[in-house]
Symmetry: D5
Subunit: 147 residues, 10 copies
């Protein structure tokens, strides 16, 4: 047994029972973004969160323990993703990467935007010309330390 097996069980149960990520998030009491990442094997649950997920997906005691173990992260099978939806994000990083770098440095100086002290919020933005996906990323700025 390993974390990957838990992830596959969760996904299979989700398909057969028709559960939505939104429902899971409500049960867990966190955002749908963090909760989905947890269920997909990227985040670590505390005991209560593991119980909530376990109850919903029918996980055994041992499987719930695995949700509380820090996983080896990385959710993609190839360095350049082949899935069109995920590739568009890779493309944004590739095309706009140097732009993002320039503008954050212009505003904050040398450092990075944290991907750890980080949150993400994905919402539908109604638009008469076709609805839009609106994503708000928020990461703490961490300045390079001089020593």
């Amino acid at each position: 047994m390993n974390r990957n097996a838990i992830t596959e069980k969760i996904i299979a149960t989700k398909v057969s029972r028709g559960i939505t990520w939104d429902e899971v998030a409500h049960k867990v009491g966190q955002s749908k973004e963090w909760t989905t990442a947890l269920c997909l094997g990227q985040m670590t649950a505390n005991a209560e969160q593991a119980q909530a997920v376990g109850d919903l997906f029918g996980l055994s005691e041992e499987e719930r323990k695995w949700l509380q173990v820090v996983p080896y992260k990385g959710s993609l099978p190839t360095a350049v993703p082949t899935d069109p939806l995920i590739y568009r994000w890779y493309e944004i990083v590739n095309v706009y990467g140097t732009t993002i770098k320039e503008l954050i440095h212009e505003e904050f100086g040398d450092g990075i935007m944290s991907a750890i002290d980080f949150s993400m919020d994905i919402t539908r933005e109604a638009d008469p010309r076709g609805d839009r996906v609106s994503v708000l990323l928020s990461g703490k700025f961490l300045p390079y330390k001089t020593y």
Copy 2:
């Protein structure tokens, strides 16, 4: 002469003259995100935008024409970026990629978030525990066509 030479000239002039991307954006009359991407060789200017950029950076007539030619896009030297700031974005795509995919599909069905009909807004979010980089991405949802 090629677009890459124009990009290098713009960057070198920016360093020696101390121009900010914000100033360039005001001259060009577009957002700082789009304008920076233009100056870094990723977007295409119209005649007026090329003139504004050209005046600011002292570009010749021929160099201004190159700003109006659609460039071969992609701003990173390696498939997995080595620069820490840009890598954090790659990491977000890698760790959260399947999460983003699940949530957009749950809300919109099969399709993608466009990286073409797309905008980005990078701002400083004041926070007593350390200011944050806030990035708002907005891309039109494009459903897969059945035929």
Copy 3:
């Protein structure tokens, strides 16, 4: 169980029962191109389409549900395909890639030809010197947004 297992079952049944993609497409009521892509794990069915495919290939209720889940797309085992038929398409992209880019930009300006709002039609073109494969690709032009 996952989508890949459904794909393998469909292919194995197709071989043992001698079903053609054309027959599947007629049952599903869509083009043979889209229907084949659906069966090969690249597209998402609605309930009726899943039922038609399920009836033809003897899929269980749960397997039919998987056809309605958006799959992780990408049908090739390597970045550069080794199969000669598919490689010829990669070669067309490699040899003609910059040509295609130039001509679409000359006609439409900066933007892309959508691979989402997209259709494909593969037909036999009779020719006394040897019949030809004729493929009509149609993708909506999406202009880069200025903002």
Copy 4:
């Protein structure tokens, strides 16, 4: 001097003088697709075609000879293209690759669609919901030989 230098000279002249590929094709007397591929270093000219291109772009006698030498083909800097327009084509091959393979084999049996005895026609398809890029590919079917 090599073919790549000729290609760069042609592109630079095209930008500075505002020549279109369509004009070049008319001068050369071939399709705009083949002619553009020739100018971008992928095809081989005969003496007359080299003269037409040479006159238009001001090429020297030696430069015209290079247009008549078979080039080392392949127009992309990376195996997976980073440019969004060209990537969409790579994505079509990746997502639809096995579909294309299945359907050509269903119609023609084992063999390939030639990328050599091949032509391409890129046109604008007017559409009230947004014009489309229409591309017609035609390649001779070549059956695998038994021996």
Copy 5:
């Protein structure tokens, strides 16, 4: 079940029963080169050929059907082969690749030597200094089409 399983069964049976490729070729009535490629999962049999192979290797009805399905071709596990015998061929392509290109173009003009309308004949060439492997490759020349 898939083609790969058939290939593994054929190889295992060949080892346990001591069958030679030459015998298989005689049964199938084709060259040993084509027949071996068929058994290794690279070529497509007609009904009679599938029966001959099936009889020799004890294949079931369904397994014989798989021999008649066009396979996904490519017989090597890595892009650069590690096996010394196969690597020497890769080395020939790598060291002599540009030479082969120059000489075929000098004789035939722009085009390729077909790998589809192609045959190969591997024979022993007796030599007092050590016997040689003699390989005759024959591929139709296909000129690049102008259009």
Copy 6:
């Protein structure tokens, strides 16, 4: 100065003066295959061969010396060649690689076909259905040593 510079000079002179590889081979007194490989920087000349090549292409004394230095071999810019003519050879190795291995081992036992004690002969094979490229490869069989 290095060997690559000599190769480029030879190729440029060949284009501007219209020399054929066949002529070079006659001057050098070796096959056109070996001679072309020498001129393309893959083989090593003796003093007389270097003089013959040097006279034909107008090489200086120092440039002739470089032809006599063993080069770093490998004539292709990428591990998987992008040029269609050379790719077809890579495809033959990829598709037929295991077949070639099986048949040489069936005839000779464990060992390799040498790519060093090796010769190649490329000729035109007239054929009413379209001329063929005929290539005869001959390599000494080298058995694996037991010790």
Copy 7:
């Protein structure tokens, strides 16, 4: 002019004038680790630091400005370093990577050791069996945020 040119000038001057990194660090007033990273193009100087480095290495006004621009970081030419000293560090990450992950998570929970709020101290550790390189790495622990 770009940052890379400044780095090369600093290194060349260091060799010809026999400057040590320790001397540079004293002039700059920071640790030898940070100062060397600055000179090798990985860190960003403030005005005083740029002046100190500029005085020592004879940099022009413009070159000093480049030291104050945030560089595109990453100091190695290949993803797996070929240099034996640097490779040993890569090997430590490869062999001990999962160990480091387990122990930091056991002590701190899910999160990372910062490579930004980070310092390094390299010293000689005298040892009768052969002196040792002692390296002290100190990075702030950043816990994954729940949201």
Copy 8:
């Protein structure tokens, strides 16, 4: 059975029984760093160490023997690690690699810091601004031999 199976069994038992690496290290009588690396399949136990690990994790006699066999080392699934914690270490090697090289050579001359005669000590460093991960690496300096 192979070493990897032992590693997976140890990890699964650790999760289900809630054992800490610190406890294992005390039982084995070595540092927690070395002991964890042993349990994760990177180091080789002697008979006593294998017994201690075997008793704790309920390993069979044969499984204990595998702990005493030198393993094929390397603990990461990809050359560039995707896990954020491990990536930060890769980033340190990438960004600071040339700095580390310069400073070790400045102090010791040409040679390397051993990754074999090597130890590592990971500790918590209390800090009011947020605790830090402190890692002490110690490797014997090995000078390049002249001969």
Copy 9:
């Protein structure tokens, strides 16, 4: 069943029964280097050698036949080996590769040192400063043929 399964069985039996490669070599009557390579799936046995290995490791009749089939060679899971012992050899090839090339060519002219007509002898070299691994490689020089 395939050769890989035999290799795994041999290794597992070796661990559980405590057999040494030296013992195997004595039973087989060949060097320990060749015999180990045979057992690890890289060489081909004759009937007697297969019987000796089979008796020692308890192989079935069919498993002994597999030892007599020429294997697909290559013993490493990645192109650049991660195991430290094997990497050091890769490093020797990487650092000294051009040196080895220069010195063999200086002594022998253009050609290679055979890896087929090749033997290797690994011995312990006692040394008061620490014993050394002494490896003697012997490969026939094969000159490039002119034709």
Copy 10:
């Protein structure tokens, strides 16, 4: 100026003046293997060695200083070498890698053969069936440290 420039100058001078590595080694007073590696940019000279090399190849004072700077090592342009002579060594590592690992561990236990405290001796071994290249590698065994 950098070390690579010195290497190129040495090689060019060697070709034009017909110097042998053996002569250089005698002047430098070290083995031909170490001396060649020094001249090819892989080793570090002391002042006397740099003077000897400098006198022979006409190096300036600054160029001699570069010979005394520790270089960034690694002499091959690709991870898998294309040159046939060097590839044979890579092949030995690939085919015999696990054999070498097993035998060194059987004799010495867990640890490595040093590539730093290492020497190499390449000699001609006369043989009536064709002379052989004999290479003696000697590296100190370094046991893994327990801590």
